[in-house]
Symmetry: C2
Subunit: 235 residues, 2 copies
DNA sequence: CGTGTGATTGACGCCTGTCAACGTCTGTGG
DNA sequence: CCACAGACGTTGACAGGCGTCAATCACACG
């Protein structure tokens, strides 16, 4: 583990101890190494686009990717974010459907592209890999179900507080307690499922109430328990 | 196929040609047959309950089951319905989490219970079974993502029209064009994510507009294209 | 310095949730 | 056979959360 940082990005996703590839045999690792393609994406570029056919999945080695669906009038609904260690695009590959989301890069990213055939081969032939991937998928499904309930039942105010807590959990805070992910107000609105103006107003309220501090896109978390209370997140 | 109806319920889920078990070997079929338990549930009974540990999954052989999460103030959010041929509970088994939903019987049901160990054994050792189950999971995930976008962006009116179309697709109409699933107004509200009164008012409007006809819980679909238009379902 | 994107604020009004009252139907028990 | 309870459906009144529109500000960039 100690030389993790010195690994070339070619080895990145295969070597991580928490990677989806942790259960591969020597031969399978060689196969993946042979078949995969490392790609680099700049902020703003699109890895794959909704309703396109996609012939493989992407392991994120570095960077942040936002995954969203396009709804009425082209309004984005952000489904999730992916960062180092996450894998995106496999849903469409394995369900043999067109991509149901678009994946766009927020922070410059390196990805490792695995062709469908390789992925399917692994699922079919390596029971442990299969279980791992199944587990990831099932967790995502559980989160999606929870979010359906939240959007359906909570107010925008509650959801915004909740999202701030989630972002903190997923991306952490820097030394100054500032969220380590930078989003526009519009993007925040597209996670919460509301209008940009509503996010702005509610963030101001949170600031007034000493829950957060704002500095452009930097959001500093002052009172996490307070946000948890507002978001009804007792669990 | 022609003697499907004469099969005892013990053979039901294993014999269906569209079943998740279609790719099992003779030995595996024997194993499942040996390990499974057929259970009968009356309307109103609960198959498994949210946040309980669940040690297996259930294949529905007959009946209708509603799967829901309990949100704020105990308000239900219906996630999906399951009917003959569907499998429920595997999400929690495979993600090693507590059940994230409750499954309650709407129409008297027969289920076939498969213990976790058997399910996991199959996933690990039968690549085709694994792929099939993965496909089911991925499809559910795709639907969940779509529903998140809908709830976040569409009005209650649009969502109600959409749900009626979905129910028609999933459960069909009888000879009289009446939806083959009977739900209370509250249950409809708990799918759409709104208040019971709103559903009642909107259904009345739909009736006024000659889109549907109401007779207690019986909903007759008069103008499907009209509902599709209202629900913004062009695809 | 103009242009464009994003952030902010205010005004306005509708959708929709909440509360309350009442009607309807079914099953139960006296 | 009737009274009653309880679950469900319906309707009306009302307020407020939140979306929409528009104007203005802030800031970065070519």
């Amino acid at each position: 583990m100690k030389n993790l940082q010195t690994l070339s990005c070619d080895d990145g996703c295969l070597a991580r101890s928490d990677s989806i590839f942790k259960h591969l045999s020597k031969e399978e690792l060689d196969l993946v190494t042979f078949e995969k393609t490392v790609e680099q994406f700049k902020r703003g570029s699109v890895i794959y686009r909704e309703s396109s056919r996609i012939n493989g999945c992407y392991c994120i080695q570095k960077g942040i990717v936002k995954v969203f669906k396009t709804g009425i009038d082209g309004k984005e609904q952000i489904i999730r974010f992916a960062q180092a260690g996450d894998i995106i695009g496999f849903r469409s590959v394995l369900s043999s459907e067109l991509a149901c989301t678009t994946a766009e890069v927020l922070d410059d990213a390196y990805t490792c592209y695995i062709p469908s055939e390789t992925l399917v081969h692994l699922v079919k032939n390596n029971g442990n890999f299969s279980m791992d991937l199944m587990q990831i998928t099932c967790k995502e499904l559980g989160e999606a179900n929870a979010y359906i309930t939240d959007i359906a039942q909570k107010t925008v105010r509650e959801r915004l507080a909740e999202i701030l807590i989630h972002l903190k959990k997923d991306f952490g805070l820097d030394d100054n307690k500032v969220l380590q992910i930078s989003l526009t107000r519009e993007e925040l609105a597209n996670i919460v499922g509301t209008a940009t103006e509503s996010v702005i107003r509610l963030l101001s309220e949170f600031k007034q109430d000493q829950l957060i501090e704002l500095n452009g896109r930097k959001i500093k978390i002052l009172d996490e328990p307070g946000l948890i209370r507002i978001g009804n997140l007792y669990e």
